[in-house]
């Protein structure tokens, strides 16, 4: 199990993680994260196996925050960064490549790292139920990258899933709009605005 999975599985508990001279204190439920490491390094530590760091549950960490002089960080960007950079295809047992998923809200891209694939997947999943397999067919985004996005959205609570939802195969959401030439226009706008 990765540190990341531990934090997401045990959302209620206060977790203390020590990795060499880096100290991290996390409580997912309260959105708390204190550390003396920067976001990127923190994300790397989150991707380490639990056994490779000193991890323990504590009743609270108020005194340790003072003792170690750690800074408060936004937990969401750290978790997002870690999951997007995790090469494990299936992070969560409850979601497989065939599980119908949908966004209940858009990831907050003002604070989260994004790329064009994230925008595309967000737009599709905010409107339609789909699954990883179908998204690969509809968007030509690799299964690994689709799964990273789904994992990140699930981990941060942006996603809902429902095994009973029926998904039409080959929806080709993107291709439908290519027929009326708009895609090339949107491409020009994106290029000009640098987005």
């Amino acid at each position: 199990m990765l540190v990341l999975q531990y934090i997401l599985c045990k959302q209620e508990v206060f977790v203390e993680i020590i990795d060499d001279d880096k100290k991290i204190f996390v409580n997912y439920k309260k959105g708390l994260c204190f550390s003396n490491a920067e976001t990127e390094l923190l994300s790397n530590i989150f991707l380490k196996p639990v056994a490779s760091v000193n991890l323990k549950e504590v009743s609270c960490f108020d005194d340790r925050i003072v003792q170690y002089q750690v800074s408060k960080l936004d937990l969401e960007p750290v978790l997002w960064h870690a999951i997007i950079n995790c090469h494990k295809e299936q992070l969560f047992e409850s979601i497989s490549n065939n599980t119908p998923v949908k966004l209940k809200k858009w990831p907050d891209y003002k604070f989260l790292m994004k790329n064009p694939n994230h925008m595309k997947l967000s737009a599709i999943l905010s409107k339609h139920w789909s699954n990883a397999q179908n998204l690969v067919q509809d968007t030509n985004i690799s299964l690994l990258n689709v799964n990273k996005f789904i994992n990140a959205c699930y981990g941060l609570g942006y996603l809902i899933f429902d095994e009973s939802k029926v998904i039409a195969s080959n929806n080709n959401f993107i291709k439908l709009n290519q027929k009326n030439n708009k895609k090339s226009l949107f491409g020009k706008i994106r290029k000009r605005l640098g987005i």
């Binding site: 907050d108 439908l176 709009n177 708009k182 020009k188 000009r192 640098g194």
Partner: protein
Amino acid sequence: MAQLKFIFTGTPNVGKTTAISTISEFEPITTEVATTDNLAAVKSETTAAMDYGEVSLENGIKLRLYGTPGQKRFSFMWEILTEGALGLIILVDNSHANPLDDLDTYLENFSTFIESTGVVVGITRYEHNPTPNLDQYYEHVMQKYGQNYPIFPVDIRKKEDVLLLLDALIATLEVS
């Protein structure tokens, strides 16, 4: 083919003109008149007809950016401006007393246009006014309209925030 134009709308003084100015190639052309109602306390002039900005694309194609008047008494302009437009950006001021009601005003008045195109919502002055929060916006829109529109807190003076709104809007328009 539809004209290449996007519409910025929202409450008076929310920052529509500012949003357009962050990406337009020239200072927005405005049609401002002296404010005579309650708004006069915070703003001496308000948009009566429209704001207009522009971005040049390839081959002489222009992306046109229109800002609507915010006040309802100028709402006759809303339909005129949206004619043939690609999509809508709604800006909501979270420091107002009832920002969800403000959002409803624009979602309802532009509903026909939104159904045939797309919409993105930018929440301004959110940092110092975190209520209602993002979750409450999403719940409200889902409950009332059954939709999951992109909603982001933004600082409309920042170009990257305006581009985020356009990026999400275009992504939405690309999906059927």
